[in-house]
């Protein structure tokens, strides 16, 4: 087996040094009834690279790769062009195969990356500080709510109907099991929610999303003030990080906590994961923040260096008193995010955002010209919602047969609701011919 360096001679010599007659003897503490005498039956034996490649490539070939067809699928995961440098750098073994940087003297690479990542996330979100990343945007959202509970000593969250339903569901799952109240409003593609009116003395936070799940962009400045005046925190969720290159950032609107998905930068679609959760807060809240943090310090020779810090919040020190049970971040995905953003720089990032927006404007205008299609949004970033004269799920299925991925039927996210609503995204990867193909196919099936 190619991954195992011990030879038979090594094994014999090592057993002799141990004083055991066989490897099986080393398993003697396992109850005899549970100790197997040989490999598990009914499973295949070892395979060479070529054979494994064949098996997995056969499965991969049964999927339609989004980049191989016109694709307009978004809703929390976006297909962007990833510069070749990103994937090359993240595969350097020193990044790929390192553990959590618990030994800072030999982990300065990972640590400096995290410090730069925290700075980048702070800048993008317009917040004071950010942590070293979370599992994904949805878990970051739930952690933000629990952090608001700790900070306000209240136990109710109000979730806007514009919040991505997966984020809502992760939060309500935690609410049930961890013991707080989450009031989720019904989907509101046209907005008009009066969230502040729902804030009472037990409300810890309001959770809104920008752009919301239907693509609408919103200014939450007034909401932040009204919410905070009632002693509750405003949590702003962002599922499309590229939007932060064009829109007023949540920090400037007055958000207390930002929970975002960073996949759009540096990370491929990967059928939904792994992605990278971004988590940023006002400075005064930092000691209640979940997740790993990297901080600057000096070494014994007085040189600048970086370490994991404030770990007295974390489970390996605090055990049952920790702020969260989280033990990992999304290290390599955060690295990919960071490299992509370093390549883009100020000029590239802001231009990328404007291109995304312009593509979506073009797409919306094109679709408005298709009979039966009506654009719901009056504002958006790179994603918007239309209504169709038929069930969107059927239309999407028919277009998939023509090898066009037409978007996300709202009914897939809001089970049994909004059946005629279709959510479509455009990015810098969307071409004129993609838009032609979509509008032509839509005119034919509607």
């Amino acid at each position: 087996m190619r991954y195992l360096p011990l030879t038979e001679a090594d094994r014999h010599a090592m057993l002799a040094a141990i004083g055991a007659s066989s490897v099986d003897e080393l398993f003697r503490d396992v109850p005899p009834a549970a100790r197997r005498s040989g490999p598990v039956e009914g499973l295949p034996g070892f395979a060479g690279e070529l054979e494994v490649e064949r098996q997995l490539a056969a499965m991969a070939a049964k999927n339609i790769a989004a980049g191989s067809v016109p694709s307009f699928v978004g809703c929390g995961a976006y297909r962007h062009h990833i510069p070749a440098t990103v994937d090359y750098m993240v595969q350097r073994g020193e990044f790929l195969t390192a553990y959590t940087p618990y030994q800072p003297e030999i982990s300065q690479g990972t640590l400096q990356v995290l410090f730069e990542f925290q700075t980048q996330v702070s800048l993008l979100t317009g917040m004071d500080v950010a942590n070293a990343s979370m599992y994904d945007g949805a878990t970051a959202c739930a952690e933000a709510v629990m952090m608001a509970n700790r900070l306000t000593r209240r136990k109710k969250a109000i979730l806007s109907g514009g919040l991505h339903p997966h984020y809502r569901d992760v939060t309500t799952t935690d609410a049930h099991f961890i013991g707080f109240e989450a009031v989720a409003l019904p989907p509101a593609p046209k907005g008009g929610e009066d969230l502040v009116a729902l804030v009472d003395a037990d409300t810890a936070c309001i959770v809104v999303q920008n752009p919301d799940v239907f693509g609408q962009v919103r200014d939450y400045t007034t909401l932040a003030q009204q919410c905070q005046a009632k002693g509750a925190l405003l949590i702003v969720v962002v599922t499309e990080a590229v939007s932060l290159g064009l829109l007023t950032p949540p920090g400037e609107m007055g958000a207390d906590i930002v929970a975002a998905e960073g996949q759009s930068l540096g990370n491929a679609l990967n059928f939904g994961g792994p992605y990278v959760g971004l988590f940023a807060v006002k400075e005064k809240y930092v000691r209640q923040m979940p997740g790993r943090l990297c901080g600057q310090t000096v070494d014994a020779d007085g040189r600048r260096g970086f370490v994991l810090t404030l770990s007295t919040r974390e489970q390996h020190i605090r055990r049952e008193k920790a702020t969260s049970n989280i033990c990992t971040n999304a290290g390599l995905c955060a690295l990919a995010f960071s490299i992509h953003l370093s390549l883009l720089g100020e000029e590239g990032f802001t231009r990328l955002a404007r291109i995304n927006h312009a593509k979506a404007v073009q797409l919306a205008d094109r679709l408005s010209g298709v009979k039966g299609v009506s654009v719901v949004n009056d504002s958006f970033f790179n994603e918007f919602t239309v209504t169709l004269p038929r069930a969107a799920a059927e239309v999407v299925e028919e277009l998939a047969k023509r090898r066009i991925l037409a978007g996300v039927p709202a009914s897939r996210l809001f089970a049994g609701q909004l059946e005629d609503h279709l959510i479509l995204a455009a990015t810098e990867t969307t071409t004129e011919s993609d838009m032609d193909a979509l509008t032509k196919a839509l005119s034919e099936v509607l």
Partner: protein, 524 residues
């Protein structure tokens, strides 16, 4: 002196071996690297983008933002930045990384290649299921392997990491208790040797944590455990093999006792790599166990993630899985993903734990690893992991102080009795080991012994590599016993940075770069 073809000496001449001070602060291949924010060429970009199409903005009431504050660099500058940073990291590709309980084994590059097949890497999670049948087939195939290897009837692939898996398992236990009308069971037994995530998970879910002491043999004290059982006990969270590297001999009795008391058995599977393919956890009487794909199945740790933590369930807990999950019928594969689970679900699911369908990129890597090994390869891998750990234990037990009698499983535990009276600590030994070219072992964990040194070599280390590590540790132990305290306290000396001031970092946290913080903090 030998000469090369240009007539120059081919062997070094000087006797001066002192490390010189350099003008740049660089030391040969170790190059100092400024923060990316300190390398700004305003207006520069490493990505060439087309002009922005001339369309009016449609942002409603929201204003376009002002400057973000990102630095501008060209592509070669960015490549050099990250290459230099990477060279300041130790990694499993560099050498032995014997972190106990962390399982730093070789990460095959085939797995990386497979995860990047466009049919996996470039597939959107919300594409119509008719266009992702191969992705669902892969999830189903991985689920089949995990169920077969553990003997358990159900699995969820949803959790994003081991600790997230613990959450899924303990939520299932809560849901099952609620379903039975026994929500009053709120006490969870957790051995003192447990990973910190176990008590943190239980506490987060509102359980009270009741610690069980270890017996003198490093295992759960069965009598002490039985004494804690009662009508308010929800279950036990037990790591097996445990964090002392020992198999819990009484595990069947523990399972019977907890079941007899009406509770459930959550097994922390962080150390499943020791027994994979050799012991089916189902035969041990467990109800739920998470499997860290980044440990047992070698998906890369990536400097701290992403992980993936599938959980296997017994019949009793199987109805209480989170969504989504894959089902298979005559029409192919489909996903049960709604929170309400109207179509085909069982109605007892605990809900959603993360966006989309789990860490797919990790599923591909793990299945690639599993298919490469096969059942016979996994058998051999677990055997070699245990053999390597026992070899290290046997060779070091006369020098260091082994905490418990062997055989151990995949890792061996020592404590700091061998350092008594030397003035040298476990931490000092670890730092000196860094200068010898090794990543240190896990230190000061588990908490059940003093000054713990927990060594997990894994099956992907050669005997020669282990012999060199053993030699280094033996000589360091000798040096400590000789009283060379200054040598240890000054270590490491040969690293990109020496010991860092963690107290200062925590006292006045600097968590991001700002233009203002730069001059003062960067001053030499």
């Amino acid at each position: 002196m030998t000469m090369n073809s240009q007539g120059r000496p081919s062997t070094p001449a000087g006797a001066d071996s002192a490390v010189p001070e350099t003008v740049t602060g660089n030391r040969g291949l170790q190059i100092e690297e400024a923060l990316i924010f300190e390398q700004d060429s305003p207006g520069m970009s490493g990505v060439d983008l087309p002009a922005v199409p001339a369309t009016p903005l449609r942002l409603g009431a929201v204003k376009p933002r002002g400057r973000v504050g990102l630095p501008g660099l060209s592509e070669p500058q960015v490549v050099r930045h990250y290459t230099r940073l990477s060279q300041k990291n130790y990694s499993i590709d560099t050498g032995l990384y014997p972190l106990g309980s962390c399982t730093m084994k070789h990460n095959p590059r085939l797995n990386e290649k497979m995860a990047r097949l466009p049919g996996f890497g470039d597939v959107h999670p919300l594409q119509p299921v008719s266009t992702v049948q191969g992705a669902l087939e892969l999830m189903d195939a991985l689920a089949h392997w995990l169920k077969t290897l553990t003997g358990m009837p159900a699995v969820t692939l949803a959790p994003a990491a081991g600790a997230h898996g613990e959450m899924a398992g303990m939520m299932a236990i809560r849901a099952a208790l609620e379903h039975r009308g026994e929500a009053g069971r709120t006490r969870v037994l957790v051995p003192e040797s447990a990973h910190g995530t176990n008590p943190a998970t239980a506490a987060a879910l509102g359980f009270s944590v009741d610690p069980i002491p270890a017996g003198p043999d490093g295992r759960v004290d069965l009598a002490a455990m039985e004494a804690k059982l009662g009508p308010d006990v929800a279950g036990i969270m037990l790591t097996n093999p445990n964090t002392c590297g020992l198999f819990e001999r009484d595990i069947r009795a523990i399972a019977d006792a907890i079941h007899g008391a009406g509770g459930y058995f959550y097994c922390d599977g962080a150390n499943f790599n020791a027994i994979v393919g050799r012991v089916k956890p189902a035969d041990l009487g467990i109800d739920a166990m998470h499997i860290n794909l980044h440990k047992t199945f070698s998906t890369p740790h990536g400097g701290g993630g992403p992980g993936s933590g599938p959980v296997v369930f017994s019949e009793a807990l199987a109805p209480f899985v989170p969504v989504p999950y894959v089902v298979h019928d005559a029409n192919g594969f489909r996903l049960v993903e709604g929170a309400q689970v109207e179509n085909g679900g069982q109605g007892t699911e605990v809900g959603r734990m993360k966006a989309f369908h789990g860490q797919m990129g990790m599923f591909v890597r793990a299945l690639s690893y599993i298919l490469s090994h096969g059942a016979d390869g996994l058998w051999q891998a677990a055997g070699d992991a245990v053999l390597n750990a026992n070899y290290v234990m046997a060779r070091l037990q006369d020098t260091l102080s082994a905490s418990f009698e062997g055989p151990c499983m995949h890792e061996c535990l020592f404590d700091d009795r061998f350092l008594k009276g030397t003035g040298v600590t476990t931490l000092d030994i670890a730092k000196a080991l860094i200068d010898e070219g090794f990543h240190p072992m896990t230190m000061y964990f588990p908490l059940v012994v003093h000054g713990a040194l927990l060594i997990e070599p894994t099956e992907t280390e050669s005997k020669a590599g282990l012999d060199q590590f053993i030699l280094a540790l033996k000589s360091l132990a000798e040096r400590a016993k000789e009283g060379d305290v200054a040598y240890f306290q000054g270590a490491p000396r040969l690293t990109p940075r020496r010991r860092l001031d963690e107290t200062a970092a925590a006292r006045k946290p600097v968590l991001r770069w700002t233009p203002a913080s730069e001059p003062a903090l960067a001053a030499e």
